[in-house]
Point group: D2
Chain length 470, copies 4
């Protein structure tokens, strides 16, 4: 998961890019970078660390120009390498080309082989470099950036929201299934694209609409234009953007994330009510879920666990005892709220189950009489190949294990996952328009040794010029 | 405001001190330090920055011993100087002496003059060094640390919670009015003191009780003992610990902070109900207040503003436009929750009024029909001399200004501060036992050019040996 | 100018590479990097800064393997960019490829265009990446690294000493004119190549011989082999390696640099004797020259200027007065040696003349009666396109200016440059085997708008297998 | 050993202090600091590291004022602690007091005890803090800084050159035996004091004279004045300043260090001639010695060992083989100069003998036929208590070991130390005016368990007003 942004604004872009990335920092804390273009020169800065560690005023002031793109990175594959920081920057027949990417290709290896045959050599291990290589080659052959992107999109399989800068023009495109989000905004003196609408809010930009799956847009100083490159009969939005990734104040593909989460909380109460004393979130991501549950149930919302606001870099403690304490550093049970009480804990998901078990133990240790666990997503039973950092089946607690078994594994008094139907109802989006790979093991794109039969999607390639509907 | 901690535990103290300070990080993010004593040597490390920036595993492993103290600093006076980091460390006739202090002396200058006459020279500008100088001199003269602390406490005026290390023994004491908090806990193999009970929770330590105002305790490997040094007929607890400073999961002087805040929220509704669509906190400190207001009113609790979780170091933006955007970096209005709605915003306090005004403007800009402001503290009309970083009267928006005027200054549709009586009721503590200087301009200690007549407190000096009531 | 090294040694290479680069640090202080290969993985670390700032023991221990290459960089073109640090690392059809380069291509732009047509995109501005691109493409087409290098060497024009790593094998090659040095050594359990013999000395390695111009060598765990790729009737060794760049304890192409410099000093005395009181070097590069002059003349060698040993990062002083003082920070005249004396200052070269003038002024200020300037190189009258960082003709003081004029410009009492003939005699190498571009304006390779007619060199391409003559 | 400086100059002092400390960097590379005074405020900056790492232009520009002092530190006792960086800064009854110190007190412990009795508490372990405590107390009692210094000098035993700043006035004083150097200079718009004359040269300041042993001077904007506080019939200049510590371009107590070293080289030849092929210094400190030996003997001066100019931070190598290589990183033998030759190596001193042995082995390894070692100091047989970082007797190779034995220990073909008489003749100073503790074990001040009988010095305390003899 990453956060990406591109801005063309005659008032200068380095500070706006910084603000926008700041609003997207939850999508990646490992590295940050910005490239801008001005008067024939590409200016760039990127490094590992939080945005506020990577940039300061001096650095931003040395990134001139009215066109630029930016990136914050959360490594999909667990790798943490300096050369994988983005944007990737290239020179190309006297032109400057820079690229940022959110998503995960599933045919990366095939594409690397193909382009190595064409004489390309790869410096990094990111699929972003593959996308750059394809565009570069096709641009060289065709001379047209738009054609290059069209050809590129035909070759890519997987999830990709991409923003590129070619000199003073920004091109952005989103995969035909719309797996990862990308939206368009109007700034004071130009236009922008960003992973989530909160990046627009941070600049006071006006939300126009999401990029359509399979769409490409072009922004330069003369304005914005769009082209529908590929059409499919269904989309495959990532469900976990709504459940966990996106900021709750983001509107993604027309839906306010906060409201989805609150409604899931209500559904959880309807599906699995419990006569408890308090409803408490597992902070931070369980908060809107718990508010929804509390309102639907009439049971008071009380924070049974308080999160330390100052989590910085942490390190491995030398002894087991200290490592167990480490959970307490982050989450402190409020004895006054839970001692002798029946507590409903609401969390967004269970992955390995280890954290859930520790939290429940901790709450019991502070005197809770009963601990009921309510989860805002169905059981996660399969890995993700499209950009979410989930472990293998073997490590997933819900893989080949009934909910009752999971309940006793995490030592809860009761456990309920929201049903898939209720979750879909909460989003207000058609079930067929979501990727449900991690819940069902059936994926919207072909993945070796995985099933994709149940999710047949027809793509209609071809270039459909449309106009932006402001 | 600072966070302080002292631990004697035969299992080693450097990692526990780190955990405890981590839980107290909200009390100071400017600098951090730890001193430990082992086998005749004082080990120490301190620097400017967050705890997680100052310490890592290697550093903690180089701080051996079963006795130690720690400190996180938030500068009372706005100064940010490397030499003011604590603990302050001294050698004293072959002994090692280290000290941390939370509070503010009001007779600092007089004491500096007095001890300069005695030949002491001062390296720093902190009142902590004055306390150290007094103890050092009296210890030299009397040979007894306890006597030195007794004499020291007679000389100090103001707020002070102090923890000192003298070789392998920890002494801690709290001012006779108990202005700043300090509590005692039982660790696995020893005892500890800390500013707030959350530091105990972080270690799995058992809360014993708060230090009594005017009390001194001594901890060494043989155990813990206490002595009542000074008695007064009233205390002067800092009200703002309950309203703003302390973590909501702390229990201070017997009261869970979260519950106080929630109750204040209920009182705010009773005193100033409003027929609104949503109740939204100004995060983070308004959250428990808003939950209380929502429950009492039945109006839904919805976050109208979302706080960016990744606030790091920030810098001054070069233009006015960018500076105004800076508020949006931290707080993003949720359009879906506030557009066309009547919104109640609940915050803990108004100081200068500038932030409140910007927040209200922002919420209006995102479409709120009405914005009602509810505040969890009475109007702040006077400065604080006892450890809270408040500005001068001139800068306080409520100084010489009626609430109606303030309301229009911050452009709210209505404004209500909780009444002093309701606030007191929420705490469950006698009104006479609070310092109300910043609300009334009448202080519990003598301050040049300020009134203290209305708050006459009799101190009974003398040494009252008591026993710990476990 | 850069320093490069490659080692295959079963005893491990990261520490030996560090030592070797340390010995080559005079060839580049801007950045440093090492890549090693072990069990299918490429390990790498590089950053801006001195070697001792970039590497420490922990980092070196995380670079396993018995094959590796390293680089220290001094930017030829004045650019100082993080992405230009070397080695450049690539993945190539499952293989790992890493490259370091010392020299300067003169047909860089043409090659970039050609390979962009082939679909390659370039991330950096270094000609090293061009060399990598050519090798990668030809390797893909031919499947043979040796063939790829042969084809690559046919395309490259300019100076290049290159070391590459392809998985567990090192290939090194030197341009057909041998402009930049590269030598071969035998380590305890393997072989190495390095820019100068001092890198071999640092490891206790045995000097075998220099790479021949136009030769390629291959080192792997089975040993070393070599192939003569291109032959020419003359070489074009860089004269300034002998005069200034190389460490005086290096043996380059058979000649000990120290002895050349000492002999130049003797020649300077023979050509321009002067009845002075002391002979003083301009440290550090004038030292061996001055020792030679002193011995030949019988006039005592005395340091009239002492160099500060602790030159670190420096910064621009805010006032003119302070800037003038800056010279004194680096060079302090010894009043006792020069007051009232006639002083001969011996330096390696004059480029812009500004530093020479300031030094002479400084020596006069400390009381020298006469200052005679003797220079170990003929007048520099033209730029260098082959790796030496010289300015344009306009900035060169000797361009279109007679020595008498230069003498008065730098305010010396007399000025003499060593004659070209004497310089050549000192090296013991045939005059025709040197590049004399910066002295004559006539270059050994074709350069746009420059003359190369007078230096016609016939290359005989073809592959001449030879055997190493140990 | 440390370098100290103080400047009063109406043109501003922070940049001049930086330059002066830069010239004194050889006296200490561990930490650096500057304090300046301007308009009632003390400005200060200090940290561990080289001067160029501690200061930059921004920092210097934030140190305003026309009065300041500075320090570079080389730890006498091997301790490397942040709190020991100097200047030490204090506030004192509204005044600002800052102090730097070069030297070592021998009655430090007694003084600490005495002032702890007076109620002073010590934060650091440096004797500099003791000097500050004494001055502070006496200044408080007497009200006169001059009287305070007079009393202070009566209490201090050992070596001390001290510069203090009291608001806008600088006071400097030197111990009655003049063990450590300190000299006075005239700057453009004021005066300065510094450890060595090279610091004056760096500023273009005019050398006035050395501070006399037992003298105090005062500098403020009205000018400079001096007072002879203590007189003794002899001085005890540190011999090693001439042999090793001081920069060769410094003039100390009237003598140019370079000339002393050159003359010692001549003496070494006279005392121990050898029919060798080359004379080579052990760089850097043996250079002037070797030049002297070469000229006296007529044997050519040739560098048989080249020192790497880029020694930065080094670290411990993981294996014995690598550690042995570490010597080669610093010193590279020049095979062409030593192979098959008889070599005279000239060094300044032998302490433990380990480095000498390794160097000789290295030179033999590169083919030297014979290696003769000549040393510019008599055998060091006793420790130093007065500021030179020498080890204990047990570790000194010359302790209880005849020169012949040492010769075979270091595996030299012959070994000669310059005789004490010749060394003294080279300095031109009376033998009785040197401290010879490390050569004879007889010290000029009383040291527990050491002899000082043979060096009886009469001090005449009392205050002798003299005038500066410009």
């Amino acid at each position: 998961m990453c956060g990406i942004v591109g801005i063309v604004d005659t008032g200068g872009v380095s500070f706006p890019l910084y603000y926008a990335l700041y609003a997207l920092q939850h999508r990646g804390q490992e590295s940050a970078g910005i490239s801008t273009f001005d008067a024939g020169t590409l200016y760039k800065h990127k490094a590992q660390g939080l945005l506020s560690e990577v940039f300061d005023r001096d650095i931003l002031e040395q990134l001139p120009g009215s066109v630029g793109i930016g990136h914050v990175r959360y490594p999909t594959t667990g790798e943490n390498r300096p050369e994988n920081t983005q944007p990737l920057n290239f020179s190309l027949k006297g032109h400057h080309f820079s690229i940022v990417h959110n998503g995960n290709l599933v045919n990366n290896n095939e594409l690397v082989s193909e382009y190595e045959e064409h004489g390309h050599i790869f410096a990094t291990t990111t699929d972003s470099e593959v996308i750059a290589a394809i565009i570069a080659r096709e641009l060289t052959l065709s001379g047209s950036m738009e054609d290059a992107i069209v050809l590129c999109m035909r070759k890519l399989e997987g999830s990709y929201s991409v923003v590129t800068l070619l000199d003073d023009t920004i091109f952005a495109f989103r995969d035909p299934l719309g797996i990862k989000p990308l939206c368009i905004g109007k700034t004071d003196h130009g236009y922008m694209v960003a992973s989530e609408s909160v990046a627009l809010d941070a600049l006071g930009a006006i939300f126009i609409r999401d990029l359509r799956p399979g769409e490409m847009i072009k922004i330069d100083k003369s304005g914005i234009s769009c082209r529908q490159i590929t059409k499919s009969d269904h989309t495959a939005f990532c469900l976990f953007e709504y459940i966990y990734f996106a900021r709750s104040d983001s509107v993604i593909d027309g839906v306010l994330v906060y409201d989805v989460r609150r409604k899931i909380g209500e559904m959880l109460h309807q599906e699995a009510p419990v006569g408890a004393d308090i409803i408490s979130p597992v902070p931070d991501s369980g908060t809107s879920l718990a508010v929804g549950y509390s309102e639907a149930s009439g049971i008071p919302f009380k924070e049974g666990l308080i999160k330390n606001r100052y989590i910085g870099r942490t390190f491995i403690m030398p002894t087991q005892k200290l490592r167990e304490n480490a959970v307490r550093m982050k989450l402190n049970p409020v004895r006054g709220h839970i001692k002798g009480k029946s507590v409903v804990l609401v969390d967004d998901s269970i992955v390995r189950g280890t954290t859930s078990r520790r939290i429940i133990e901790l709450v019991r240790e502070f005197g809770a009489r009963e601990v009921h666990f309510r989860v805002g997503s169905p059981p996660v039973t399969a890995p993700c190949y499209l950009g979410v950092d989930l472990p293998t089946r073997k490590e997933l607690i819900a893989h080949n294990r009934a909910t009752d078994d999971v309940c006793s594994c995490i030592s809860a008094d009761s456990l309920h996952h929201v049903s898939f139907e209720a979750l879909i109802e909460a989003t207000g989006i058609d079930a067929a328009d979501f990727c449900t790979g991690c819940l069902t093991g059936c994926y919207p794109v072909k993945i070796p040794n995985e099933c994709s039969a149940c999710r047949h999607v027809d793509f209609i390639h071809g270039s459909y010029q449309t106009r932006l509907d402001f």
